[in-house]
């Protein structure tokens, strides 16, 4: 039996199949959410890449850092979650760069720092997050926090649009 999924473990490891919904579900959701935003908020085409080089470099830098963090977490079993700290850094940078207007980004960064450093206090008993529930606890926790962050981003976006909509004809 697969210890995580409770499925029989044969020649094909069913755990590998999780990759399929892991790709298809976010892709489908992103299409649905994209269509929803187009219908309700309208469609905006971004400036060409050369006009937003800093943004592209920042995004790529974060992606590379996230991959490195993930590798370090899985190989080193450190008493801190490096990927959690990198994500906290990304939220903090977003909060700072957007003029400190979105307090939820700072709160999520603080929450991630707290969770990432929690093993230093002896919780969980193993002294690190990675092995907890077969290594699933870190991606699931980060995924939940990312989802909460996205919902809060949406609420902030809609509220800001309402605040901006004060131009007199």
């Amino acid at each position: 039996m697969n210890p995580i999924l409770g499925l029989p473990q044969g020649r094909l490891d069913y755990q590998c199949l999780l990759v399929v919904p892991g790709i298809v579900v976010p892709w489908g959701l992103s299409r649905l959410i994209g269509n929803y935003y187009d219908r309700t908020l309208g469609r905006v085409e971004r400036l060409p890449l050369q006009s937003r080089l800093t943004e592209w470099l920042t995004g790529t830098g974060f992606l590379i850092a996230a991959i490195i963090g993930w590798v370090v977490d899985s190989l080193q079993r450190l008493p801190v979650s490096v990927s959690g700290l990198i994500m906290a850094g990304a939220y903090f940078a977003q909060w700072w760069r957007t003029g400190r207007l979105f307090p939820h980004k700072a709160l999520l960064a603080a929450l991630l720092v707290g969770l990432s450093l929690l093993p230093l206090t002896g919780v969980p008993a193993d002294g690190h997050w990675y092995d907890l529930f077969g290594g699933f606890v870190v991606p699931i926790t980060l995924g939940i926090i990312l989802s909460i962050g996205s919902v809060l981003d949406h609420i902030a976006l809609v509220r800001n649009l309402q605040d901006l909509s004060t131009v007199e004809p």
Partner: protein, 112 residues
């Protein structure tokens, strides 16, 4: 400083109007935007937005492209080269005025 105040009168009236300024500023931050996004952003009614967009198109500051997305009509707006120059020049003028106003001393006027 008098020149700086005089420059206020020389601001492009097409650009200076608040609703059109909001539209041009929004369009300057992207390659193109559709009618709905500009309506959500500015809070203008469809009629007012159409009127302002027509004025901007007549002045050669924006391009209006009508297309279909699926079966639904969609109006796409983008700044022309002239429009991008106009909005950039406008903000530069305001910035210069702001700096001149900060340096202004009432005595300067007395001396003049």
């Amino acid at each position: 400083m008098t020149e700086a105040f005089e420059a206020l009168a020389s601001l492009d009236k097409i650009v200076h109007e608040p609703a059109r300024l909001a539209l041009l500023t929004a369009l300057s931050a992207c390659r193109s935007a559709d009618f709905l996004s500009l309506q959500r952003l500015t809070g203008l009614t469809k009629g007012n937005l159409s009127t302002h967009l027509s004025r901007l198109e007549e002045a050669g500051l924006i391009e209006i492209e009508k297309q279909f997305v699926g079966k639904k009509p969609n109006t796409l707006l983008r700044l022309t080269h002239q429009g991008r120059i106009a909005i950039e020049r406008y903000w530069q003028q305001l910035e210069s005025l702001h700096q001149a106003a900060q340096q202004w001393q009432p005595e300067d006027q007395d001396k003049a």
